[in-house]
């Protein structure tokens, strides 16, 4: 969940001259900040909510008729819902962390001991009961475990009535979380959209300047690169331990990583292709100053995504297959190149 966040931003230049020092105004493009909220964050969360609803529908269909076709459809719906979530991990600030939406959806590992105990019990699986279950028995990975089995080996007829009831309880609960996450940015007092998009306005203590908001975007982009290269890939790879792999039941890890890098791309461009959303991004600011840097950064992003996709699937097997090690390390190197550019040239450029 939490990124390892090592990247510092050399250009942050918190002009520590408390008295009398001059400070550069830094980043001043309000449209980029507003569009980041309205055209990147909110459309990503809206897509997540939409796809979570479709996942719930697929789970209900599977429960009604546990056929191979319905199981395949539920698995596809899970993978589709995973896309906007992973594409949101480049901006894990604000309510998603503070209000606990991240662990409510994406806790890892799954507490399989207690998950199995709940299923084996006769507790009525009401919506309230499921809502009150610990986070490690809910969310993406508990759903993943039920629909994919331990090693993408689930057979529809293996799922008993109790497991199917638990599954639909989890998918329903997921939709309440995704709806609340989207709402946290769009409604309420204050909607977090209004906090972020009014960066620099008088009285905005969270983002006292547009520059502070731009730094938040850049730190998020950098942080997810660090997390993927040095956490999500490195932790299981260095230990050669499949137990440490996230999304190991579905064999979806490589797609997860690629979508994390697309999150960086979306944050940079102000667009979310998967949601059909476009906006003014940092890329336009960079292009105006240093078109070569923009071109290089785009190429580095494309390279990182390509190298991730070149890791032999499934990732949990690749980390114990020496022939796959060069591909894993090449992907890590490419992601670190992206991060280095964000931390250095890109940050310097937009300020």
């Amino acid at each position: 969940m939490t990124a390892r966040l090592l990247a510092a931003l050399p250009a942050l230049a918190l002009a520590a001259c408390g008295d009398g020092g001059t400070t550069s105004p830094g980043f001043t493009d309000h449209q980029v900040i507003a569009d980041f909220a309205d055209r990147v964050v909110i459309p990503t969360y809206a897509l997540l909510d939409e796809r979570a609803a479709a996942l719930h529908d697929a789970a209900l269909a599977l429960r009604a008729a546990p056929t191979p076709a319905n199981l395949t459809a539920a698995q596809a719906a899970w993978v589709a819902t995973r896309v906007p979530w992973e594409q949101s991990e480049g901006f894990l600030f604000g309510p998603v962390s503070a209000q606990g939406f991240d662990p409510a959806m994406d806790s890892w590992p799954v507490d399989r001991t207690d998950l199995e105990a709940v299923i084996a019990s006769s507790d009525p699986l009401t919506a309230t009961y499921v809502r009150n279950l610990p986070e490690t028995q809910k969310g993406f990975h508990a759903i993943e475990y039920l629909v994919f089995g331990e090693a993408r080996d689930r057979v529809a007829t293996d799922l008993d009535a109790r497991e199917l009831e638990y599954l639909t309880g989890l998918t329903h609960e997921l939709t309440t979380v995704t709806a609340a996450l989207e709402a946290s940015w769009t409604t309420g007092a204050p909607a977090y959209r209004d906090v972020f998009a009014t960066a620099g306005a008088a009285g905005n203590t969270a983002y006292p300047s547009l520059d502070a908001a731009a730094q938040e975007i850049l730190v998020g982009m950098s942080g997810i690169c660090d997390e993927v290269a040095n956490g999500k890939i490195a932790d299981p790879y260095d230990a050669h331990d499949p137990n440490l792999v996230e999304s190991q039941y579905s064999y979806n890890s490589i797609l997860d990583f690629a979508d994390n890098l697309r999150s960086v791309e979306n944050a940079y461009t102000g667009d979310v292709p998967a949601a059909g959303s476009t906006g003014r991004g940092l890329d336009e600011v960079v292009r105006a100053i240093d078109p070569a840097l923009d071109a290089r950064f785009r190429a580095e992003l494309a390279d990182a995504i390509a190298k991730i996709q070149a890791i032999p699937d499934p990732f949990r097997d690749a980390i114990t297959t020496p022939a796959a090690y060069p591909a894993i390390e090449a992907a890590q190197a490419a992601i670190r190149t992206v991060q280095t550019t964000i931390d250095g040239d890109l940050t310097a450029s937009v300020r």
């Binding site: 939490t2 090592l6 931003l9 408390g18 983002y207 502070a212 730190v219």
Partner: protein
Amino acid sequence: MTARRAALALATLAACDGAPRAPAPGGDTTVADRTSNAYSLPAPNLAPAELDRHLAGDVGFDATFVRGPAPINPGLGPLYNHNACAACHGKDGRGLPMFAPTGSQALVRVSLADGTPELPGAPVPVPGLGGQLQDHGVFGVPAEVAIELAWTERTGRYGDGTPYQLRAPTLALRHPDGGALDPAILTSFRQAPAVFGLGLLEAIPDAALEAAADPADRDGDGISGRVNQVWDVDAGAVRIGRFGHKAGNPTLVQQAAAAYANDMGVTSRRFGGDAEVDDAVVAATAFYTATLGVPARAPGDVAAGEARFDAFGCAACHTPLQTSGPHPIAALAEQTFAPYTDLLLHDLGPDLADQRPEFQADGREWRTPPLWGLGLVATVLPGASYLHDGRARTVAEAILWHGGEAEAARERFRTASAAERAELLRFLSAL
């Protein structure tokens, strides 16, 4: 090896036309970041091996525990408050004052007024409950209590007539059978504090804390800070308490081990018998919190507000500057830094009193919390609140709750002009 990029040292930021400036908040551990990640960066002056250790500790701090047997992170419970360090210290910041079926970010300590403590001088455990209420259990294990938190509003006025509202918490504590907790049990409701910069606080020499203490208020300023004297389980002796809202733990290692055991039900050698995490894990977690850097101040001129901070008397307890002595982590030794705490116990008056003693701290005393990073609370964790139990929704409310030794300072703030109050708050928001 990974291409790790530590935060750059503050020296880079100090090119300021020779103008005199305050010491960096964390000395050489200061990080140049004012984003939601500001509390989560390693001190930039760590040696490479120290950075590796910090990163290992980071993994442990984030680890989500589950019920065993399990291939990774077994050991949760059977009773617990939450399942990960980071679940309550989100983004290495404070928690929220919330109790929820899915996991609680706050907790309630309990003890008896009389009896025999487990550790010399410690609070007396409650038979069957111990020293902390666990409001969660693994499947089939009933929680000790259900905790319901309610807020009661009250109103007040600034000296210029401007009204304000405060809220005070009330807890309903019920056993699984519905029965209320015995009212003779002393309780203390606390939210999780932030965990960055703690190594510097550990490195302040005992002698400096003792020199600042003035238990009998011999200087007659109305402020009588005291050091807490607590049991150090490793030393097997009494030591100065530094960590926790009442300074009930002497070291970060002991603080971490106690939190594993009490908050997550994860036992280790020091607490709970059979070790579900070994000494190395506990040490790595303590090391992680010791070596998280301290955010630099926000840009801008807040000298007027800083002067108010002194003039109102805030600085009498929120000591601006401290200096560390030797420390096993070289990055923390011999630093001058600005935590705005004296780490001493002070009577904060009846409104904030929990009436539950902890070692030498009496029922009205709290340890002065550091104020560094205060201005980033809303950025790191929107919705977070202040004081030991999160009752203060704003920094102004937190100030207005101060009583006891801090009453005079509070009154200077309360009766100041709106412009003067705003100056002070602007200064605090730059921390």
